[in-house]
Symmetry: C2
Subunit: 346 residues, 2 copies
């Protein structure tokens, strides 16, 4: 290991980011990464949605459940030993939407979150309260989860709809992902509320005071895109003395979601990158984030071993680049990948 890292900040989406974090924490625990490192996770909340009167934060929950060993290992999302009685019953009432997956254990988290919101607590404080159960037992105060913003921000996807007067229809990103399985071509992505949002307390400080900032292989459009779109966050990334390193979510011409987090995740990555004009390649995502030296946010970019051919192209963008195995097959492989990212900018 190179220099001691005391503070690592990770910008994270849901399943993919959570798996990366699991590997990173495994690396810290096993000494591969600086064992004194404290980790702050800034999570996307633009996937959040209100359903049946419940405030649902899928990415915050995916990170909490994954790191707190409560995740359903088979699906990589949702709770272990879950039941779906309430969802069955809502369907029996004919209450829409019926396509959203709502586990009974998940409902408990949603109830606590919703009730605290209604009592006036901001999402960041609610998240800290929920993490007392999920993160504190294993990590004490060395791992902290913070929403990107306490403000309501929601991503919507425009799809073709021949029946609509405008020829298109806008659906919440959850509907695009869960009901439509991201199989319908996307025409545009709009993140409602993003321009007016402010970073949650602690987010800018976590970037400013970090020794290292990591962008894990999360979806660049609907996971990391909204985080980077919160006014102030990109400026903080440009200004921080920490190095900023990212891991490509694309291997070859496929979004790795298809291997790491299920077919719909992969399909969503590819559809939404295409819709927003981002080339579905490791170099395409590097160009989107861009080098700090060229007004972007990255000092380094990790691509998959099979993409070694793009290393020179990425380096030409003004950032360090290296090709290593990126498939997060287990904690150890992911920890090795996280270590490679750290060493790249060390």
């Amino acid at each position: 290991m190179e220099s001691q890292l005391n503070a690592i900040t990770v910008l994270s989406g849901g399943t993919g980011g959570a798996r990366f974090l699991q590997g990173l924490l495994h690396g810290i625990h096993s000494g591969l990464v600086s064992p004194t490192a404290r980790v702050t996770i800034v999570a996307n909340t633009a996937d959040d949605v209100w359903m049946h009167g419940l405030k649902i934060s899928p990415d915050l929950d995916a990170v909490m459940y994954t790191l707190g060993d409560g995740i359903d290992p088979e699906h990589g999302s949702g709770r272990r030993n879950e039941t779906r009685s309430a969802q069955e019953e809502l369907a029996a009432y004919g209450v829409e939407p019926t396509w959203f997956t709502l586990g009974d254990r998940e409902i408990a988290t949603h109830l606590v979150r919703t009730q605290m919101l209604e009592a006036g607590y901001p999402l960041s404080q609610i998240t800290a309260a929920l993490c007392k159960r999920w993160l504190s037992p294993a990590y004490g105060d060395t791992v902290r989860l913070v929403p990107m913003s306490d403000d309501r921000v929601e991503t919507h996807v425009a799809i073709a709809d021949p029946d609509a007067p405008s020829g298109r229809r806008v659906v919440h990103v959850q509907e695009y992902f869960v009901r439509l399985h991201a199989e319908v071509p996307a025409e545009a992505v709009a993140v409602i509320g993003l321009d007016e949002s402010v970073p949650a307390p602690g987010v800018l400080a976590a970037i400013a005071e970090a020794d290292l900032v990591i962008l894990p292989p999360s979806n660049p459009i609907v996971s990391l895109g909204p985080i980077l779109g919160v006014p102030g966050i990109v400026d903080a990334l440009r200004a921080t003395s920490a190095k900023v390193v990212g891991v490509s979510p694309v291997i070859g011409d496929r979004f790795v979601g298809s291997a790491n987090a299920g077919a719909s995740t992969g399909s969503m990555g590819e559809q939404l990158m295409t819709a927003t004009g981002v080339e579905v390649s490791a170099a395409g995502v590097a160009k989107l984030y861009a080098a700090r030296s060229a007004g972007g946010v990255l000092d380094g970019w990790l691509v998959d071993s099979t993409d070694a051919a793009v290393v020179a192209e990425v380096e030409a963008l003004g950032m360090a680049c290296r090709a290593v195995p990126l498939l997060m097959t287990d904690h150890a492989a992911t920890a090795t990948m996280a270590t490679a990212a750290i060493e790249l900018v060390g």
Copy 2:
């Protein structure tokens, strides 16, 4: 059968009232009672409570689930094939209260109700919407369930608490029943909001236009007491051209809840009658409701066969009285009991 009954109105609490209604509807269906009768159920809502941000209406739900064949037959309350995952999870978060029973299927009903309330619908319209699932398939529009009031009314019970400066503490009736199993002596009962409440739309008309009004063997203090306490309801009962007949919830010196609806129900009946100065006997409850001829609400009162000795005492109050078997052992027995009540004032 005597004269044709077109409209029967039943004032009902939860489990006991629901079982009585099941027998009455069985009687109507089988021709024991006038097969053309339409039934309006005016249910107690003073047991209602907000838990974890959910509006819970135990008596409305008990009636819906029982008549719609969704009740857990073993417990006489709650849903059949219920799971408790959300409750387990709330306990794992350490979120109070942990003593309240919250089934996952029940949560779905609570979510629909809460969301509709927040959208501005009154409880009576929400109840009608929920009953499209529970009552319409079997009964069409011949059975209607109406809350006593759309206003928030909640029953609280004062119990001794040596640690409190006043020497007593006030708990919600649900806490008294579910957490304390009604085993602690009650000192007083207060129904908060009752004096300012108004009957829900349709309640006064259902009493005025009925051919018969029935008070089933529900708890006189916390089930029928609050219904009778909604301003205007007693006046409507005194003014209606319908006969008003009741069924004693007490057999001997025991509240029949102990036989019909579980030990806590029985205990609660006895504790709260004692606390409010009502003699725990069939005649004691008849005195509480009193004869219409003496400024009360009853024209007739059914007591159990084993209480034949009190018939003369009840008749002396100015109402008809008869002793018949009152244990609701099955639908047929209950239908026979309902028929006896009807014949008593026929």
